[in-house]
Symmetry: C2
Subunit: 409 residues, 2 copies
C-alpha cells in the first residue's frame, strides 16, 4: 500500500461549470474495483480542440488515433479509461480504440473523428473494452452530470491525490473559465503513471490558435517537469474550448485581447504540472532548478534536465545532503557549453560555489539546515551566455524503489 | 556500513610481474585511515602509454594534466590517490597536480611531462598534498615493491572489492603479459566512485598503436557499462607498455602479429568493466542487454543505454519482475528508429513479445522464475536493420539510495 504523497497540496473543492461541456464518470470494473475508472466528456457542437502527445516512437493506440484521425475542428467527445494503456497491443488495440470512439459517436450522433480517446495503465495487455462500451451506451445527455473532482479522480492510476486547477480571466470583458485536470505520478512511468492532462475553456478561439497556445504551454509546464526521466507511450495533453464566450473569434496569437488568457492558461498548466511532481513516486522534496548563463534557452533546458534526472543528485536531495559536487558532475555530463571556472551554484539563497571552487566562507551547517525544507531551490549560472530555463523535479527515495520494484508482484 | 557486493567474483590471488614496472603503495592518511590510499608506479625508460578520459566538460585537474601535458612517448611514472578527486578546485588544484608530478619526476630524474596523475574521491574539496609528497619522496627504486593486489586495493573508494584481471598471449612467440586493475562502483558516482583503470603490458608497440587499441577497447568495455548513467569528472583509462618484449616493434593495427594481443587486451578490459558493474552501488543483479536489428551499431548503443539507464527498468529487475512493458517504454523514449510492430523481446531464452504484442503462449510464471537468477540476459530486436550492441548493467535497489543519500551525512 502506497501512502499519500507528503507533498500533497491543498485540494480544490470544485471547479466552475462550463456550459456545453458535460462530464460523466463510471465504475466499469475493467481493472480497478470500487472506484470510477472511466471518464466521458461530451461537448456541444462548435467545440474545438488541440493536442500534444508523447515523443515516444512506440506510442499507444489511443495516441495514434488522436494524432492521426481526430478532427479537432469538430470535436464532440473525449473518452478516457484508467488501468490499461492499450499500448503495444497491435491491431487488436487499434480496433479497441475504434470501438470506443464508435460507441460514443453513435450515442451522441457524430462522426467517429469527433471523439478523442486516451488510456493509461498497464501496457502490453489487451484492453477488454466490453464494460467500457456498455457504460458509454448508457449515456443520456438529460441525465445528471458528474463533477470536475469526479473527473479528476476517475483518470487516476498510481496517483495518490487527484489533480485539478482553474483560473478565471477576461477576454474583451467576457468572463472566461479555464479548468484543468491531470494525472501522473512518476512523470512518466509506463505502467500506471503516464501523464495525462485535459484543459477545458469557453474562450472563442480558433483551433490553430489553441494549438499554438498548447504547444507554448507544454514547453514551460509538462515538458519542464521530470520525476524519473522515463517517457511514456501514452502521454497526452489536450485542450478543448466550447467557443461559447460572446467575444469575437480570436485567431492570432499576437492579438492583445488574448494575452491575459494565454497567461492564465499557462498558469493552470504549470499548476497541474507541479502537482504531478508533488505526487512523484516516492517524492519527499519538491525541487525547483533555475539554470542561467547558458548559451541558449535550449542548452539551459538540457543542463537543467541533466541535473534533475541524475540519480546521484536526486538521492542527495532525499538525504538532505547539500552535495553540490553532484551538480557539477551533472553539468559536466550534459555535454553543453559551460565554463567550469565561472560556474556559480546557489542552494536556496546560499552561494556555495563560485569561479570554479567552493566559496571561501562556505558554511555547510547553514546549507545542510536549508536542505531540511520540503521545497528546495537550486540556481546555477554556467557562465557562458544568456540562456535561461526553470524546471521542477522531486527527489529519489526508498519509496520510489518500493513502488516500482514491487508493483506487479 | 556498506556490505560487500552480492555479485563479487572469485578474486585473483596475484598477477605476474612485468619487468621494468615497479609498484609502490602508501598509507598517507590523506582521507582514509588504516589503508593504503596512494599508488605510485615507476616505469623504466622506453615505456610508452595511451589514455582515454571522461567526456565531462567539467573535468578534474588531473584529467586536464593527462590530456594536455603528459608525454606518452616518454612515460616514467603514474601517481594515483584515492579519497579526493581534486576536481572543481580551480588554480590551486592545477598547482597540486603539478606538485605531485614534480615530486616524482625529481625523485626518479625525468621531466614532469613523464608523470601521469589520477585522483578520485570527493569533488570540490582542496586536496592537501603534503602527505602524498612526503610519501613520494621516500621512494627508492632499490626498496621492495608492492604487489598488484596492493595496487588494486590502494585505488579503491566506495568499491566493496578490489578489481584485477590479466591475460597471457604471444606476439611472434614472445610471451606477453597484460595486467589490469580498476576501481569504480556506481559507474560513475562523482564522489567516491569514479571509474579508473590502468592496464600494463610488455608488448613492443608504438604509442599511436596502443592509443588506437585503447580507443577500440574503451568502446566495448568501459563505455559499454552503466550503473546509474552518471558521468564523473575524473574517469581515466590509461595503458602502459614497457616495450621490453623481444619481438620487432609493431606499429600497424592491421599487422596480423598483433591480432591475438588486441583480443587479449580487450578481454582484460571487458573483465574489469564487468567487475565494476558487479560492484555497482547496491547491485543485486548483473544484467546483459543485447540489442539487435537497429539501423546502426551506434543506434543500437543508444537504445541499449536507454533501457539500461531507465530507473523503471532497473527497479523492475531488482523486484524480479519480468516487466517487458518498461523495455518497450525505454525503446520508445530512445528516439532512435525502431519498428513498434516488429519488436521482439527475449528474457533469458523466453520470447515474451513479438510483432508488437505479447506472445500468444506467454507464461509469466516461467519468466518470473528466470528473473530470480543473479545473471539476467535480455535480448531485443527492434526490427529495422543490422545494427548490434551489447552492454552490461545492474539493478537499482534500496541499497543504492542508502549509499548515495546517506553518504556524506
Amino acid at each position: 500500500m502506497v501512502n499519500r504523497s507528503e507533498l500533497v497540496p491543498t485540494a480544490f473543492k470544485e471547479l466552475p461549470d462550463i456550459t456545453g461541456i458535460r462530464i460523466y464518470t463510471f465504475e466499469t470494473n475493467t481493472k480497478y474495483k470500487k472506484r470510477d475508472d472511466l471518464l466521458v466528456v461530451v461537448f456541444d457542437k462548435g467545440t474545438i480542440a488541440a493536442g500534444v502527445y508523447t515523443s515516444s516512437l512506440c506510442p499507444s493506440a489511443p495516441v495514434e488515433w488522436c494524432k492521426e484521425s481526430v478532427n479537432y475542428n469538430k470535436i464532440r467527445g473525449l473518452v478516457v479509461n484508467s488501468g490499461n494503456a492499450n499500448a503495444f497491443t497491435g491491431k487488436r488495440g487499434v480496433q479497441t480504440v475504434n470501438n470506443m470512439a464508435t460507441g460514443l459517436a453513435k450515442n451522441i450522433g457524430c462522426n467517429i473523428e469527433g471523439i478523442a480517446v486516451a488510456s493509461t495503465g498497464v501496457i502490453g495487455e489487451f484492453l477488454n473494452e466490453s464494460m467500457i462500451l456498455d457504460a458509454i451506451e448508457t449515456i443520456d445527455l438529460r441525465m445528471p452530470t458528474s463533477s470536475w473532482v469526479d473527473a479528476a479522480k476517475s483518470i487516476m492510476t498510481t496517483d495518490t491525490f487527484s489533480k485539478l486547477a482553474f483560473k478565471l480571466c477576461k477576454i474583451d470583458n467576457c468572463e472566461i473559465i479555464i479548468n484543468g485536470i491531470a494525472k501522473g505520478s512518476g512523470m512518466i512511468a509506463p505502467d500506471m503513471a503516464t501523464m495525462l492532462s485535459f484543459i477545458f475553456t469557453n474562450a472563442n478561439i480558433s483551433h490553430s490558435l489553441l494549438q499554438e497556445i498548447l504547444k507554448e504551454t507544454t514547453n514551460i509546464s509538462f515538458n519542464a517537469i521530470t520525476v524519473d526521466g522515463d517517457t511514456s507511450t501514452s502521454d497526452t495533453f489536450l485542450a478543448f474550448s466550447s467557443n461559447k464566450a460572446k467575444h469575437r473569434l480570436i485567431e492570432d496569437i499576437n492579438d492583445p485581447k488574448i494575452c491575459e488568457f494565454i497567461k492564465s492558461f499557462k498558469e493552470v498548466a504549470i499548476n497541474l504540472a507541479k502537482q504531478i511532481v508533488k505526487d512523484g513516486e516516492g517524492a519527499t522534496k519538491f525541487v525547483t532548478i533555475e539554470l542561467e548563463g547558458a548559451i541558449s534557452n535550449n542548452s539551459a533546458r538540457i543542463i537543467a534536465k541533466s541535473i534533475a534526472n541524475s540519480p546521484l543528485f536526486k538521492t542527495a536531495i532525499f538525504g538532505e545532503d547539500p552535495n553540490w559536487g553532484r551538480i557539477v558532475m551533472a553539468i559536466g555530463k550534459a555535454g553543453e557549453p559551460a565554463s567550469r571556472d565561472k560556474v556559480k551554484i546557489w542552494i536556496g539563497n546560499n552561494l556555495v560555489a563560485s569561479d570554479g571552487v567552493v566559496v571561501a566562507n562556505y558554511n555547510e551547517e547553514v546549507v545542510a539546515d536549508y536542505m531540511k525544507n520540503k521545497n528546495i531551490n537550486i540556481k546555477i549560472n554556467v557562465g557562458i551566455g544568456e540562456g535561461y530555463d526553470k524546471i521542477w523535479t522531486c527527489d529519489l527515495s526508498h519509496q520510489y524503489i518500493t513502488i516500482n520494484a514491487d508493483y506487479r508482484s
